[in-house]
């Protein structure tokens, strides 16, 4: 390992890390929000809408993320959609992950016992407050573990953004490797770094899991 070299490239590596985390965070928020909307919208009893949402989910889950990015970033300008690399990357990550989150939330909502919803309605709660105070918290019990899992998967997918030239960590590492001929150091450092990131996120995820299941632990 050549520490002087890594030190020299530290500013660009740190900025790359910042871009990675930012793309991941914003993309995940977009994906989670879209996922909830899709899960709720597919409860509407309107066959064409359900059919459309199913196709959306199958397309985004059935094709590689890299392909979707290419279509968005390279194909977009041909239908008047000109996006900067980072915007395309964040949007792509949001769309891609939304299909997974939609399925997770659908499963989560399905896991809420019907009796709880009926009980909420029978004591006069509005549909909105039933959703916010009964269905959503109960759905999170089933949804949080797979959400954390998907968050981790998506943090690793951000690496793919380097291929469409988003200046995230992988991109900076590859630039450094190309300029200094020290592919080994750069990629090794990055592997360690990602591994640590994933460990931290999965630990935080386990905590979150404890938090959302707290109400279950109350004595009956």
């Amino acid at each position: 390992m050549n520490l002087a070299l890594v030190w020299h490239y530290a500013p660009s590596l740190i900025s790359g890390f910042g871009v990675t985390v930012l793309c991941w965070a914003v993309g995940s928020i977009v994906g989670l929000a879209l996922g909830i909307v899709i899960a709720l919208a597919s409860e509407i009893r309107l066959a064409p809408l359900r059919w459309l949402l199913r196709v959306y989910i199958e397309i985004f889950r059935g094709t590689p993320f890299l392909m979707q990015l290419f279509i968005l970033y390279n194909g977009g300008p041909f239908i008047g959609l000109k996006l900067a690399a980072t915007t395309a990357g964040v949007l792509g990550l949001g769309l891609y992950s939304s299909a997974y989150y939609a399925e997770i939330f659908r499963g989560g909502f399905a896991s809420v016992p019907r009796g709880q919803i009926e009980a909420a309605m029978s004591i006069g709660m509005t549909p909105l407050s039933t959703l916010l105070r009964v269905r959503f918290p109960a759905a999170l019990v089933a949804a949080v573990p797979p959400i954390v899992n998907t968050l981790i998967v998506m943090s690793k997918e951000t690496v793919v953004l380097s291929i469409i030239t988003v200046p995230e960590l992988m991109y900076q590492v590859q630039t450094m490797a190309a300029e200094t001929f020290t592919a080994f150091d750069a990629i090794f450092a990055m592997a360690v770094f990602y591994w640590l990131l994933v460990e931290v996120v999965s630990r935080l995820g386990r905590r979150l899991e404890k938090r959302v299941t707290l109400f279950l632990a109350r004595p009956a």
Partner: protein
Amino acid sequence: MHPQVILHSLGYLTQAAGVTLALSLAGIVLGFLVGAAACIARLSGRRWAAALGAAYVSIFRGVPLLVQLLFIYYFLAELGFNVPALVAAVGGLALASGAYQAEILRGALNAVPRGQSEAASALGFAPVDVWRRILLPQALRISIPPLINEFILLLKASSLVSVVGIAELTRVSMNIATMTYRPLEAYVGGGLFYLAINLCLSGIGLLAERRFGKAGAI
């Protein structure tokens, strides 16, 4: 949109889809062997073997596949081994997938109720027979649906192999995009191939889940 671009390159795309399928198949089969070894190591009861298995799973699930691929490709080159891109690609896919498959197999073994192996031991089955006749037949059945799911994920992940220059579906789509200067059509065409393969696979997965899904449902 000029759909004729897709029609013109249909031959190339079909061929490339075959390469993608072959790469993923090789990755999943080799990965199964690696995964089974890691799973056995974790359950062997020997502390160093269990630690080794756990470290393998943690590292290969924690590091992005693209990083692993470039690492194998460059690292071995730096050591003086001239690894053909194909070997790096299949090896990378197999190692990454093996870590996930190890966990699938471990979960499936845990899903066989403990009482069964205890009952078998009580009846005088040798440990080998407990594995051969009680644990493995059930665990393998349980693991079929998640293994098909893993195959779908690996097939999508195999698009990253394009960066080491293998002419699979993604790479060929890129080439068509540069040759025709019609990226939208080229990538939509490639994407449709992925979609078709994956829809078939998830159909097979649903059938398998209906047939093998539940523990003890034999």
